[in-house]
């Protein structure tokens, strides 16, 4: 365990050194992220000038939801994003050879090798929006709600990563998957809408099959004190299940690795 912490710090250090080579990237990212957040807040205010609630969610609650999406997405993208985008290419070009020959968990290596500092701006922006939204709430936030919120955000990040990881792992069979990363961005996009909006089987599907509900809605509800204990437990159980399933899937996929001839 301690070894992996050291290894992760070494990865992160190399990633900083690496990104310092390209200074402009961070600036562009920052401006774009903040602008997008402002536009989103303004558009919500515009909608709520005409309606009181959407599926029972008031504006400040919707803002909490939006902030949560930003935070989760920022975490997932900074830790895993670049790695997931690169993984398909590693498999296709046979560059997994070096990873598989090293005495280190291959999943850990391919998932965390590059830490991307740019999306951290999004985490910061998300926190700012969250602060603003909390200020507008009728009741103050309970401390256990806040604690649970942090835990569920971690769960959400791990769930989103596990799903992304599995989708990319399909490359072992497919040989090449074009734009597979985009599926993740679409997935995150759905999380901006409270799943309460949907009905029937679609709602169940978005909760348990494709667990969009757990990405932002469930943590937001926890913060707002609206979450049932059953759902809290379900969130943790689903996270553990997805981590294990994606691990087994990766192991299976590796047996299909054909490398690339050289």
């Amino acid at each position: 365990m301690q070894r992996y912490v050291r290894l992760y710090l070494a990865f992160a250090k190399n990633s900083i050194l690496d990104s310092l080579e390209y200074r402009l990237s961070f600036t562009v990212w920052s401006i774009a992220t903040v602008l997008l957040a402002v536009v989103y807040v303004l558009s919500l205010q515009f909608i709520f000038a005409h309606v009181q609630t959407i599926a029972g969610w008031r504006m400040e609650q919707m803002l909490v939801l939006a902030a949560t999406v930003m935070i989760v997405d920022g975490i997932v993208e900074s830790i895993f994003g670049e790695n997931m985008n690169a993984l398909s290419g590693l498999i296709n070009r046979g560059e997994l050879d070096f990873v598989l020959s090293k005495p280190v968990s291959s999943r850990f290596y391919v998932s965390t090798r590059r830490f991307d500092w740019d999306p951290l701006v999004q985490v910061g922006t998300g926190c700012a929006v969250l602060w603003y939204a909390i200020g507008m709430l009728a009741q103050p936030i309970a401390w256990h709600g806040a604690l649970l919120y942090v835990g569920l955000i971690l769960c959400a990040s791990l769930m989103a990563y596990s799903l992304w990881f599995m989708v990319v792992s399909v490359t072992f069979w497919a040989g090449r998957l074009n734009n597979v990363a985009n599926l993740y961005y679409n997935f995150i996009e759905i999380a901006r809408v409270p799943t309460d909006v949907f009905r029937g089987s679609l709602r169940i599907g978005l909760t348990f099959v494709l667990p969009v509900a757990f990405i932002a809605m469930v943590p937001s509800q926890a913060l707002l004190g609206l979450l049932s204990p059953t759902f809290t437990l379900t969130a943790f159980a689903m996270t553990a299940a997805l981590l294990i399933i994606s691990h087994l899937f990766w192991r299976l996929a590796l047996t299909k690795y054909s490398s690339a001839s050289s």
Binding site: A10, L17, F98, S101, P103
Partner: protein
């Protein structure tokens, strides 16, 4: 039985705690790839998309051999022969379709950390250096991955930097290095944990002659200094000739020869070259009676003579002509192996006997 074949019992030997344990034992190894074929053009692509015809390509088909600790062995064979596939199975990257493999007492594809700490893989066509960072950062990362103690890391690093003459290079961005410098850094990165087994896949590809020589010298020195077992695949005969006493020739997934490189020459080249220098010019037609003239100048001529006819021909030349100098040369290994693969060779049944 293949020449030089040792009893296929490396696996049992290990368990019976005998002193002579083979570093590598491979028995009946097979690796098939499923591939699909498509007719040319758009229609062919559509057909292949809907109804895909797949078949197995036998990249490696029933190969067995053992390699002792400290040996320097070359894998020879044309493109697609199965050399690299065999190497990748030995390194645990690929799961075989069949057969048993033991490397340092481990089954490679189980990828146990204790096994992975003991070997290194270097591929001339792929790199592990971080592209935008100096090689030093990759070395430090490998120190963490292999958990090399700080003192040992520093010692090995200094030693390798010195042998490979990399003092000025290790702190320059990898993408700004020349191909040769990068290859040397790749070697260094792979050797920091002092592996006992070294898999080298085309380590000199694309390098100039001087750099190829440097890499060869280094590999030999590493082998001597650490007693490491080295397996090398290369298209450059010179690499194999300079480094390996023993070669495994692989063709179409089969092991067709296992033994000393010289034996290949003796067995498959039934001729030698005779270079004669005369005091006075001699006509080409006259010399053609002795054997094929491969290079003719009036005073110096090279003839290709059947191996067992060499003594008589030499004697007759010395007797009948004013010979100043006479030189008998074995054919180049390169040439022999080329012939070997271009079909001018006996059938498998005869070679593997």
């Amino acid at each position: 039985m293949v020449t030089g074949w040792r009893a296929p019992n490396g696996l049992q030997l290990r368990e019976s705690s005998q002193a002579t344990v083979s570093a590598i034992a491979v028995q009946n190894l097979a690796k098939y790839y499923e591939v699909h074929q498509k007719e040319p053009g758009l229609v062919g692509s559509l057909k292949s998309f809907v109804l895909r015809k797949t078949y197995d390509v036998k990249a490696v088909d029933d190969i067995s051999f053992t390699i002792e600790s400290g040996e320097l062995v070359g894998f020879l064979g044309p493109n697609g022969a199965g050399k690299t596939t065999t190497l990748k199975v030995l390194a645990g990257l690929l799961y075989p379709t069949g057969g048993e493999v033991s490397v340092l007492g481990h089954t490679p594809w189980e990828r146990q950390a204790t096994f992975q700490r003991q070997f290194a893989l270097v591929m001339g066509q792929k790199n592990q250096l971080w592209w935008d960072l100096p090689p030093m950062e990759t070395f430090i990362l490998n120190r963490e991955i292999y958990e090399v103690p700080e003192a040992q890391f520093q010692e090995t690093l200094d030693e390798l930097v010195q042998i490979l003459e990399l003092e000025k290079v290790v702190n320059v961005q990898a993408r700004k290095l020349s191909l040769g410098e990068r290859m040397k850094c790749e070697l260094l990165a792979a050797l920091l944990h002092r592996p006992q087994v070294l898999f080298l896949d085309e380590p000199t590809i694309g390098l100039d002659v001087v750099m190829q020589q440097n890499i060869r010298n280094f590999v030999r020195e590493y082998n001597a200094r650490y007693g490491a077992t080295v397996i090398l695949t290369s298209h450059y005969m010179r690499d194999v000739e300079a480094l390996c006493d023993r070669v495994l020739i692989i063709d179409h997934g089969h092991l067709v020869f296992d033994g000393e490189l010289e034996t290949v020459v003796r067995r498959y080249a039934d001729y030698k070259f005779l270079t004669v220098t005369f005091a006075t010019p001699v006509a080409e037609a006259e010399l053609a009676e002795f054997g094929a003239v491969t290079a003719y100048r009036p005073r110096t001529t090279t003839l290709r003579i059947a191996r067992d006819a060499v003594p008589q021909v030499s004697a007759r030349l010395l007797q009948d002509y004013p010979v100043l100098d006479l030189n008998i040369v074995e054919p180049e290994v390169d040439e022999v192996v080329r012939q070997f693969f271009s079909g001018e060779r006996p059938a498998y049944a005869e070679t593997v006997s």
